[in-house]
């Protein structure tokens, strides 16, 4: 493994993945913003589509 310098061992019980939670929260916010954006671009910007 060599290049993976571990400076401290973190076991199962001491590990709390809060950074992961933060990243996933950011992803969901981006998704939400994109959906709202899509509503403006695609639905308000175009005529009604009748299939």
């Amino acid at each position: 493994m060599g290049e993976e310098q571990v400076v401290r061992e973190i076991g199962h019980d001491e590990y709390d993945p809060k950074g992961t939670l933060a990243l996933i929260a950011v992803y969901f916010v981006i998704l939400l913003v994109m959906w709202v954006f899509m509503y403006f671009v695609e639905f308000l910007g175009n005529e009604l589509t009748v299939v």
Partner: protein, 595 residues
């Protein structure tokens, strides 16, 4: 864990030399396909943007078929069998039962590929009647030469036998270890292969019962809606067949490369079981605009598809949490600061991490594709290739390339020729794909079609709400060119690695999960049970749609005539003629004779 830090760990090649040869052969077949596919990709990117057209547009479909088949069938699946062979042998820690059998399935896959590729490339030579310009979806009534369907069938039989090889190895292992949990990598291989057995029922029937006999003249006609539905029965789960080897790498290799441990082994097993259960009963979501399938069935497919988001979101969580664990063990701190502690100089890490990031973006466009109503906005536009170049074209392809930098030394006992080039290569892929895929998505929203050699129309212009179509075209062409350069860097780096000096001690060990398999209920390892439930779900999802297609338009539809994809030899220039013609025009343009 810490024993692994000492040098001199025996490599896979030291421990299983015969299996290592098969893995190497499979990867090399995969990379040859990748390189050829990228050549065709570059031609398309330059052609359809009108940056450089040296082939006559009627050959566009030969190019596009070759691109699709070489990349999503040969490149991905050869890599998969190589990786799965490695993963099975490594995790069960025993050789395969009979290496001659292993070479036999590899040989079948090679023969099948060569047959299909000959049929496709025949399209460049209008004087022969060999052609298969039917694209990788081979929808009837477009008809290919029998070599194409025959090659496909032989290739798939090869993959079935490969799966049986893994099951045999597992069975032998089980005799010696009756009470142990299936090692995680073997579990992933076996569940993926079970999914593949179910999925390929569809394509096997489409090809062997209908399309092959039809191309041989034994059957007068086929029912296009039926063969198309059977195609998509396979066509959605095949995307997970591409993705599962990437997931295997993200779950079992990426944590170690990040300096950490997999967050949870049981969660990984749950994800693979969910994919086995849910991958197949969703194929109809590719047919939202197909007439002849009731809206209700499409709704069911949409609902199943939304459930399928669950295992991918679970994966995002588990994989990122494992990376974070590595970063914190390496001394990273803070809510986001740990990201800096990740080993960004390691091409294997950076490639896989960037691949995962692009997959997250692909997740968004995938949700758009999956919604029955918003799908209409982007259906058959170039948005769709924009989407899957993020998923299979990057999440999968870039992960495979990045993982190769890690795996190759262990199956050859030779280090990678250049790590800096490797790092530049993965970053270049990311940049190139960001440009190409962004341009494709945006152009798709403006209605630019996919699968079109010359998407320009007389008396009609696509209107861009922002930017301009010309700008987007240039972006697509530039992105495609960077991707091509990245592929060349990858392939040549690996080729040059065959010349680096042989070393010992290149073996790498994988860290143990934080939460081990023993924490999970044993029923997770009951493959028969999951296979049974998956079959029931497939029957439920498909029995009614198939029955209604057959009652509406028959097993075969005599009204449908075959359309062989032949270019008229008299009008077709032939690629050589077209090339010299284009060269002539180029020279003339440079000289300034032609405006």
């Amino acid at each position: 864990m810490s024993e692994a830090l000492e040098t001199g760990t025996p490599s896979f090649m030291d421990r299983f030399p015969q299996e290592a040869s098969v893995v190497r052969a499979s990867l090399i077949s995969s990379f040859i396909s990748l390189f050829l596919g990228a050549v065709f990709g570059l031609i398309q990117a330059l052609h359809r943007t009108d940056v450089f057209r040296f082939l006559d547009s009627q050959y566009y479909y030969t190019v596009l078929t070759a691109h699709g088949v070489l990349l999503v069938v040969s490149f991905t699946i050869f890599f998969l069998v190589g990786l799965f062979t490695w993963a099975t042998v490594r995790s069960l820690d025993r050789p395969l039962v009979d290496i001659r059998y292993t070479w036999a399935w590899y040989g079948l896959m090679v023969i099948g590929t060569l047959m299909a590729v000959v049929a496709i490339l025949g399209g460049f030579f209008p004087s022969t009647d060999i052609s298969a310009d039917v694209l990788f979806t081979f929808y009837a009534p477009m008809q290919a030469h029998p070599l194409f369907y025959g090659g496909l069938a032989i290739f798939i039989i090869g993959t079935w036998l490969a799966g049986a090889d893994y099951f045999r190895a597992w069975y032998a292992w089980k005799q010696d270890n009756p009470d142990e949990r299936i090692p995680l990598q073997a579990f992933m291989v076996l569940t993926t292969m079970l999914m593949w057995y179910i999925a390929t029922i569809g394509v096997a029937i489409a090809v062997v019962v209908f399309l092959l006999p039809w191309s041989l003249g034994l059957l007068d006609s086929v029912n296009p809606l039926l063969t198309r539905t059977l195609f998509w029965f396979w066509g959605h789960p095949v995307v997970y067949f591409w993705l599962m080897p990437a997931y295997l790498l993200w779950y079992t290799v990426l944590p170690s490369i990040s300096g950490g441990r997999l967050f949870s082994d049981p969660l990984a097993r749950v994800v693979f079981v969910l994919f086995l259960l849910l991958s197949t009963p969703v194929g109809i979501h590719h047919q939202y605009v197909d007439p002849g399938i009731a809206e209700g069935f499409k709704m069911i497919a949409m609902t199943n598809t939304m459930f399928l988001l669950l295992p991918s979101l679970l994966t995002a969580f588990t994989v990122v949490a494992s990376m974070e664990h590595g970063a914190r063990q390496r001394g990273g701190t803070g809510l986001f600061g740990w990201l800096r502690a990740l080993p960004w100089r390691n091409p294997a890490f950076t490639g896989m991490a960037l691949a995962g990031l692009m997959f997250a973006a692909g997740g968004f466009s995938g949700m758009v594709n999956a919604g029955m109503n918003i799908n209409y906005l982007i259906h058959n536009t170039i948005w769709v290739p924009g989407h899957f170049h993020l998923t299979v074209g990057t999440a999968v392809a870039l992960t495979f390339m990045a993982a190769t930098y890690w795996l190759w030394p262990q199956i050859t006992n030779k280090p990678i020729f250049s790590r800096p080039i490797a790092l530049a290569q993965v970053v270049l892929w990311f940049v190139g794909m960001a440009l190409m895929s962004n341009a494709m998505h945006v152009m798709g929203l403006f209605g630019v079609p996919r699968r079109t050699a010359e998407p320009q129309y007389q008396g009609f212009d696509f209107v861009a709400s922002f930017g301009s179509i010309t700008e987007l075209r240039m972006q697509l062409a530039l992105g495609g060119t960077l991707l091509f350069i990245s592929t060349v860097l990858f392939v040549s780096n690996i080729a040059l690695s065959t010349g680096t000096p042989r070393m010992s001690g290149l073996g790498k060990q994988l860290s143990e999960p934080l939460s081990p398999a023993a924490d999970s209920p044993k029923v997770l390892d009951n493959l028969t049970l999951w296979f049974g439930i998956a079959m029931v779900l497939v029957v439920l999802a498909y029995i009614l749609p198939l029955a209604s297609i057959i009652t509406d338009s028959g097993i075969v539809d005599p009204g449908v005539e075959a359309v062989p994809m032949l270019i008229d030899a008299a009008t077709g220039l032939g690629p050589i003629g077209a090339v010299s013609d284009a060269a002539g025009r180029l020279v003339a343009a440079v000289v300034g004779v032609v405006p």
